[in-house]
């Protein structure tokens, strides 16, 4: 799978899709895209359903995004689906941050949660 970051706006919610693998080498770009989204969108959904790998550098970006969204009253949710890579599920479980992050089991669920 080709790595990439896509952003689209759905009913005022920015949906940021991370495709493929993301680590320290892309964390800065992911963070920048999130910052741009939170400047203008009423909510942010981050879709990890097509993400095959993340490391703790990306996990930190996701946690910071959730904290920032909460501070400014924007909706926020992350889609962690069955199709997300083993490494995505594993990192969230090992760190215990699956309980701290606002996650949904599908892209549609994350968009709905970010809009509410």
């Amino acid at each position: 799978m080709t790595n990439g970051i896509d952003v689209e706006r759905v009913n005022g919610i920015d949906v940021l899709t991370l495709r493929g693998e993301h680590d320290l080498s892309t964390a800065t770009d992911v963070s920048r895209r999130i910052d741009l989204a939170l400047e203008s969108a009423s909510g942010l959904a981050i879709d990890l359903s097509e993400t095959t790998f993340i490391d703790s550098a990306v996990l930190r970006v996701l946690i910071t995004a959730q904290e920032r969204a909460n501070e400014q009253g924007a909706g926020f949710a992350i889609a962690v689906a069955d199709s997300s890579g083993h490494g995505v599920h594993r990192l969230l479980t090992l760190t215990g941050l699956d309980a701290k992050l606002s996650t949904q089991p599908s892209r549609a669920g994350a968009i709905a949660a970010a809009a509410s």
């Binding site: 693998e21 680590d23 320290l24 080498s25 964390a27 800065t28 790998f53 490391d55 703790s56 550098a57 996990l59 930190r60 946690i63 890579g85 083993h86 490494g87 594993r90 990192l91 090992l94 760190t95 941050l97």
Partner: protein, 134 residues
């Protein structure tokens, strides 16, 4: 029992761009050894965290290299990630969560951090290849 050994050595510039290169090389080695996908994913995560630690902490002023050695023998993989920098000094602007080493410890059969002759830091990890890890 047949003894099978493989050894891969990689040297990368201590930059973020080098981290996925190490992960991809390790996956290639492990796929060739027919290691289960979930075990490969775990090892890829642990080694990525070790490389990220080296990139972030070893050379605060930039530059430098990281040397990775992966040795396979009889169903175990020994991975050493060595830098020649100033050690794992804390950074206020660290891009991580401070969970890298705990993640490595949870996945690896054993992990040791040393200061080898010649300076720098070496993180040595041992993984079981044929059974569930962690």
């Amino acid at each position: 029992m047949e003894t099978v050994s493989e050894r891969v050595e990689i040297e990368i510039a201590a930059t973020a761009a080098g981290v996925p290169l190490v992960r991809h090389a390790l996956r290639g080695l492990l796929t060739g050894l027919e290691v289960p996908d979930d075990v490969i994913a775990d090892i890829a995560l642990a080694v990525t965290e070790a490389c990220t630690n080296a990139v972030v902490h070893a050379y605060p002023s930039g530059g430098g290299t990281i040397h990775i050695t992966a040795s396979h023998l009889d169903g175990e993989l020994d991975v050493a990630v060595r830098d020649h920098g100033g050690g794992m000094s804390p950074r206020m602007d660290t891009p991580g969560l401070g969970v890298g080493l705990p993640v490595i410890a949870a996945i690896a059969r054993s992990v040791a951090i040393g200061s080898p002759d010649g300076g720098g830091t070496e993180v040595r990890m041992q993984f079981a290849l044929r059974t569930a890890v962690g």
